[in-house]
């Protein structure tokens, strides 16, 4: 029952967000129907575009899961961007320094990225557990620290011959892109990260709903004192919760910098970090919900350009629509109430 409710809420939010977007389009003198048809065609029109949509979604699934997982354990992490950077940096460093067979290489890189993200996130976890430092503030600080760590370490150790501002290109054997997948989707940027994202979604769903670890983490999130009373190690769990969340974001970094992208640039805080909050939110913090909402964002991200190219709708409208959807998702209580009202009415009449 709860699940139908969340689904209804998310759909209503998306719908109202789209309506609001349509109003904006109409205000700028564009035809919303045309706009949306190009938007969705841009994201889904052919295999290549579907592949690109999924490629965009891949990173968002992982950052969305990262935020959602922390959320479910009572923590609000804004740190996905920084953890992505660290994960990406570790993956890039390994990819550029080691020479291994592709499967082993990828395994090592992903493991390193997950560990890097986890370690980076466990610092705010530790500060929260031991010193009660608010994770919102500490993760913001950690983001900027990661930004500067990458900013200085890429040029110092991994830069190419000519450019100070980006790493060398990731060699083929260290890239998550594989030919069969790219060919399957007609040359799209889709990469093995997608499979990783699907796996991660399943695993996180499993952890949250079916394992004692999930039970513990949620208990700590809901009520620290009761968890302590029950003999659960609260500090360890907070660090663990942020650690897992960080590992997910670290993996997001690996898929982004060694899959979607072909090298690592400095001076950019990846947008997928903050977008993860929106994705998690629209997915009602449930793992498969996150997956679905990431795909939706993927469509928006990749269809936006086609819509802009085909119509006179300015590029900024895409962002406005996404933002509006989030706002409506935040105010979803309204829809839940409406939904309950409908249910009651329906029941009475039945």
């Amino acid at each position: 029952m709860n699940r139908t409710r969340s689904l209804f809420t998310a759909l209503a939010a998306v719908l109202l967000g789209l309506v609001a977007g349509a109003i904006f389009m109409a205000l700028t003198g564009a035809d919303p129907f045309k706009g949306y048809s190009f938007l969705f065609r841009g994201g889904l029109m052919n295999l290549e575009r579907i592949g690109n949509t999924l490629a965009s979604a891949t990173t968002l699934v992982l950052t969305g899961l990262s935020v959602a997982f922390a959320f479910r354990t009572g923590l609000f992490s804004i740190g996905a961007a920084g953890q992505m950077l660290i994960g990406g940096l570790v993956a890039t460093a390994l990819g550029l320094s080691l020479e291994l067979s592709k499967p082993l290489m990828l395994f090592v890189m992903l493991l390193g990225a997950a560990l890097g993200g986890a370690l980076w996130a466990s610092i705010p976890g530790y500060l929260k557990a031991k010193f009660n430092v608010h994770e919102v503030v500490s993760t913001i600080m950690m983001n900027w620290l990661a930004y500067w760590v990458v900013y200085y370490s890429i040029p110092a150790y991994f830069k190419g011959t000519f450019l100070e501002t980006e790493s060398r290109r990731i060699p083929e054997y260290a890239s998550l892109r594989v030919d069969w997948l790219s060919d399957l989707f007609k040359g799209s940027y889709i990469n093995l990260g997608l499979i990783l994202a699907i796996g991660a979604t399943a695993i996180i769903a499993l952890i949250l709903n079916r394992t004692t670890l999930g039970y513990e983490l949620k208990a700590v999130g809901f009520n620290r004192h009761a968890a302590e009373y029950a003999g659960i190690d609260v500090s360890r769990n907070i660090i663990m919760a942020l650690g897992i969340s960080g590992a997910l974001a670290g993996l997001a970094g690996a898929t982004f910098y060694a899959g979607y992208s072909v090298n690592m640039q400095i001076g950019v805080l990846p947008a997928a970090g903050l977008d993860g909050i929106a994705v998690a939110l629209l997915g009602a913090n449930s793992p498969w919900g996150v997956f679905a909402s990431a795909v939706f964002f993927g469509i928006l991200h990749s269809g936006k350009g086609f819509m802009n190219a085909m119509t006179d709708i300015p590029p900024e409208i895409g962002d406005t629509i996404i933002a509006t959807i989030i706002y409506f998702a935040a105010t979803s209580v309204l829809f839940v109430r409406f939904y309950d009202f409908l249910r009651r009415k329906f029941k009475k009449e039945a």
Binding site: F24, T28, F76, I78, L127, F131, N132, V133, H134, V136, V137, S138, I140, M141, M142, W144, L145, W148, V149, Y151, Y152, S153, I277, A278, L281, P314, E316, I317, D319, T320, I322, A323, T324, I326, Y327, A329, A330, T331, S332, V333, L334
Partner: protein, 314 residues
């Protein structure tokens, strides 16, 4: 030392928007509503003032700046209603609603700027001028630190902080505001409309964050470009660091301002040149974390902050 004197006024200039935004956050959280949307509200303020000032500057001259500040406050307050409706009436998760505010503000303002002016960047020709305060700036040490090269807006923001201290601790409004943030059921039972107080507080925070965005524009940036580069989040950190107290945020924002300025200018100071760049850039964030470690144990957070008010809850 000379360098410290010379950059101090810039640290203060950098501090003021942070301070104004943190003060806005203070009203909001003291009433029990968390406002992650400060960043977005600052963008709205920056946008509004840029539009107003660039439109009026030719005809009005310098007084257009003040009109711009006022407009930023009004529009900031109006925009914050989005957050108020979501988090007060609809009992939405406040953090999420604030995040949505940030996204909407960033996208919508650039969109509007492009549609209205044809460009997503709006420039004003002239901001406020730094001035030395006569007499006071001649005082040794203090003069060059605090009374040299000051912006008019600095005194405005400082005055607002002082007024806020009085309002929050010495007036019935302040008493009620704090009650709503600590224990809204108590305020409710005392006949205070928690909804109304929270609306007022959210709007004040919108106005102050709007002002903060405008202050950035009229002091050091003079250009709207759809971003305030994370200052809103930093203001939030300063609010927590300052323990939700006016004097506290005055201290914490100055701390940030000085740390960030030192990090910025250290590049041009030969004495610092042997220190790795990473350490210099990381400095403000590391000291913030360190300071939080020291101050977080005894958190004075308003107890009800972040919780939607539920009359029936006991």
């Amino acid at each position: 030392m000379e360098t410290i004197f010379s950059v101090f006024p810039y640290a203060i200039a950098y501090t003021m928007p942070l301070l104004a935004a943190a003060l806005g956050g203070l009203y909001c959280e003291r009433s029990g509503v968390v406002n992650i949307g400060l960043e977005g509200l600052m963008v709205v303020g920056s946008f509004t003032s840029a539009m107003v000032i660039s439109g009026l500057q030719a005809s009005m001259g310098p007084s257009a700046l003040w009109v711009g500040l006022a407009a930023a406050m009004v529009i900031g307050a109006a925009f914050s209603l989005l957050h108020a409706v979501a988090s007060i009436n609809l009992k939405a998760n406040q953090v999420i609603s604030g995040t949505a505010i940030n996204m909407i503000a960033g996208a919508l303002t650039v969109f509007l700027a492009r549609n209205i002016t044809g460009s997503g960047n709006v420039r004003i020709t002239m901001g406020f001028i730094q001035r030395d305060i006569p007499l006071l700036s001649d005082i040794p040490v203090l003069g060059p630190l605090f009374f040299s090269k000051t912006y008019a807006t600095t005194w405005l923001v400082l005055a607002l902080v002082a007024i806020s201290w009085v309002v929050i601790y010495k007036t019935p409004f302040g008493l009620r505001l704090r009650a709503c943030g600590e224990h809204p059921q108590t305020a409710d039972a005392a006949g205070i409309s928690v909804y109304r107080m929270r609306y007022i507080a959210v709007m004040i925070s919108g106005a102050l964050a709007g002002l903060a965005g405008a202050v950035i524009l009229v002091t050091y940036s003079s250009e709207f470009n759809g971003s305030v580069s994370g200052l809103g989040f930093l203001a939030l950190a300063a609010l927590i660091f300052g323990q939700w107290k006016p004097a506290g945020i005055l201290g914490s924002t100055f701390f940030f301002g000085i740390a960030a300025t030192v990090a910025n200018v250290s590049q041009v100071i030969p004495a610092f040149s042997r220190i790795p760049g990473l350490l210099l850039k990381a400095f403000p964030y590391v000291v913030t974390l360190a300071a939080l470690v020291l101050f977080s144990k005894s958190s004075q957070a308003p107890r009800a902050a972040g919780e939607p008010f539920d009359q029936g809850k006991r």
